[in-house]
């Protein structure tokens, strides 16, 4: 081959590559590609949303492509005729941090093989995701309702850490899905800034194949780790020894930048996101104030746990109960329903026994949602 031939090939290759990049940027096919999945076809669906920082060990990874996340989930399977579909929303406690799938809240509910009064099987789906933001829960609920068969009921586990207004747009999952979040802000009149500077809005080059190479690689990796997931059922590294949550505290009553007890209202807590969630669900939704670790250690008269000073949490419980009652929401406050020994590394992560106890409490409540 002559140099002229070599240069001609290089030129053609460069042009084709440039064209592919421009087309990719123009079509922006990432979300459409995300809904193409080997899960629920070649590999079994995942029982919780993809999340993980060490794929080689957990056979799981975090990504921002919501259609891909949902397509990999068992939720994407068609709903059976005799199924009472129950979605469970929440943070890492609902997702099941340091719990196998069998031990998560969803695993325990499904293991109970409960039936509704009309004989349908109660099948729960884990839509928990390990970051704390009500808007993140709303985003996932909205996407799940748009892409999967409709549920019959929703359980939404919340805790105060998910409420602060400043934290709503903090999770990268939200920042990388600005259009979806802006649609929610506009559609439900959320008091959040649609022009928040943390939203990631790639420019033209950022939307090319080169700019999106990380997102494309994540999509591919989500598919390839499906075989390891199918082979082992592992989607999280659970250490043999878990360092337990803190029980003794400094004499400190600060919370989220408030050094002294302050009135908590709809100004600083994003209560309207709950209203949006109830409206978006369109089916019976039970709001659950999730259990937390209540310490009896040093300065426990000031703090319940490492997350919450007593003043903040007490004010939150009162506010949430009042808001739910005023709005006519179904509300269940289980804040101290699990013994302190059944919490692991944080004030909201449960042991398998704690998770089982919570599942029993929630199954009792599911009857009210039929």
């Amino acid at each position: 081959m002559t140099w002229r031939g070599v240069f001609r090939i290089l030129l053609k290759a460069a042009l084709l590559f440039a064209l592919a990049n421009v087309l990719f940027a123009a079509l922006n096919p990432l979300e459409a590609l995300g809904s193409l999945s080997l899960y629920n076809r070649l590999w079994p669906g995942r029982e919780r949303l993809p999340y993980g920082e060490n794929p080689a060990q957990s056979y799981n990874l975090s990504l921002d492509n919501i259609p891909a996340m949902l397509a990999s989930h068992t939720l994407s399977r068609p709903k059976a005729a005799d199924e009472f579909r129950l979605l469970i929303l929440g943070d890492s406690a609902a997702w099941g941090w340091f719990l196998t799938n069998a031990d998560t809240l969803v695993g325990q509910i499904n293991a109970a093989a409960a039936h509704t009064a009309d004989g349908r099987r109660v099948v729960a789906y884990n839509l928990g995701y390990p970051v704390m933001s009500l808007t993140k829960d709303l985003l996932l609920l909205d996407a799940a309702l748009a892409s999967a068969d409709p549920p019959d009921a929703v359980l939404w586990l919340v805790t105060l850490e998910s409420f602060p207004r400043e934290k709503q747009l903090f999770p990268p999952l939200l920042q990388h899905n600005p259009q979806r979040v802006r649609a929610l802000i506009a559609g439900y009149g959320l008091h959040l800034d649609p022009a928040d500077p943390r939203f990631v809005q790639p420019d033209f080059w950022g939307q090319t194949i080169i700019g999106q190479r990380r997102a494309l690689a994540d999509l591919l990796r989500l598919q390839t780790y499906g075989l390891s997931w199918a082979a082992t059922g592992i989607d999280q590294m659970i250490p043999a020894e878990i360092t337990l949550r803190q029980s003794d505290f400094e004499a400190d009553v600060s919370w989220q930048g408030y050094d002294q007890p302050t009135a908590l209202t709809a100004d600083n807590l994003a209560l309207e996101v709950l209203r949006a969630g109830v409206a978006r669900a369109g089916v019976p939704l039970l709001l659950v104030n999730e259990p937390m670790f209540v310490s009896a250690g040093t300065n426990s008269d000031l703090r319940y746990n490492a997350f919450y000073p007593r003043w903040a949490y007490d004010a939150y419980r009162t506010l949430l109960a009042d808001t739910a009652a005023a709005a006519g929401w179904r509300y269940l406050d289980l804040w101290d329903s699990i013994p302190p020994d059944e919490f692991t590394d944080t004030p909201v992560h449960l042991t398998p026994a704690g998770s089982a106890a919570l599942a029993t409490r929630l199954l009792d409540a599911v009857g009210t949602l039929e």
Partner: protein
Amino acid sequence: MTLDLRAIGLIAAAAVLYGLLPARARGWALLIASTAAIYLFQPALPIRFSDFILPTAALLLTVGAWWLTRRPADPAQQASRREDAVSFGLILAVVIGLSLFRFVDAPYRLTPSRPPDPLALALAIAGPIAVCAGGWYALQKRDLLRRRVLVAGIAALAGVFVALKAEPLAIALSGAWRGATGQDVTLASLADLNLLGFSYVAFRLIHTLRDRQVGLLPVLSLREFVTYVIFFPAYTAGPIDRAERFAADLRALPTLRAFDSARWSEAAQRIGAGLLKKFVVADTLAQGLALTPALAAHAEHPVTLWLLLYGYALRLYFDFSGYTDIAIGLGLLFGVRLPENFNRPYLKTTLTAFWQNWHMTLSSWARFYLFTPFSRWLLGRERKPPTALIVLSAHLLTMSVIGLWHGVTLNFWLWGVWHALGLFAHKQWSDRTRAWYRGLNQTPRRKQAWTLFTWALTFHYALLGWVWFALPDPAAALRVFAGLFGLSVGG
């Protein structure tokens, strides 16, 4: 810096500069680049200075081997004396030059960590050189003694290889070294002595020493010898070339057309194919589609185990043959045509053909230096053993060494034995069925079906062999075998 995308890009860019060099300088450039590369490719090691000392030791070993393989009386060897002195000076200059990175801040260092003091290094190198020089003088006119030293050299190389690759020995060695440098002895591990590329260096050196012993090795200058042993495109992942073939390419460098479009486009195709195989296919398969010890311990179903094993077999092939393609392509850019190492091994219909096409340079090395001489030795004995026993023993020896070359562990040895038994069985079968097989030519359909069957059998035999290769201990491998056939699954 390993042979990653950045290094490959840098080497390809350096090839352009290489093309601009005066023709006579090309061989020297390869010597300098190869000498530097063994330090640049070496990963950082925990024992202080070891990631500089070990490559230096490999270099000294190479120079020592050249010394032993010289033919002092040969006019060609005598003619290269001045060139050899210059080569030696250049090698020393590169080593001492790299040690000056001791005085450079970490982000700007080309060496994996802070090198030792240049003066101490020079003194440390002077010792072995003085021994070699004295030894050379003594051996110059005593041919019998020289031959014995060559045998001792081969044995010593094998010993060093085992010491670096066998975990208990490596830990003992590392512990002693750590003790001497005041580092924590309890942290001693096999990884402490990870001298990158040594498996290839050792086998190339054994080849030269043995060929010199039997008179097959041509006269090589120090520059040719050292460049052959540590040629940078083939340093980390082979192939294992033959010295005389490599030297012929080196000697043709002055007449090489610097920017020959045919050579450059062939090189680009090989590098492109290699990049695709290694960094796209193999690395994708490595993301959860290929068997690992952790996956093997937790896999719950035979079907998924089989899929993971297929993934492992493909990953291994694409990884290794990809690296070979890159090495061959990079070699071509510098005017050296390295030998092929893979020729569609998984498509072969017999295990013998598989081994003639999988890691071809290693298997032909083993055939040349182990299988054939050992078989001949057995055949030449007064009380000749039965032929079948000779074949079995030769296969066991050869494949055991091939297995242990990957690491001195029980599992690698069992992998070798697995293949030795397979090769022996195939030899027995083909000896007994030759006439029947010839008859198959009369019925093309039956022959096609037989070919398909033998391909599937060969592929799956090689595939199951990878279970020994992939897992760290025989118990884990046996669990996987049981799991694959649904006998017992899980950890």
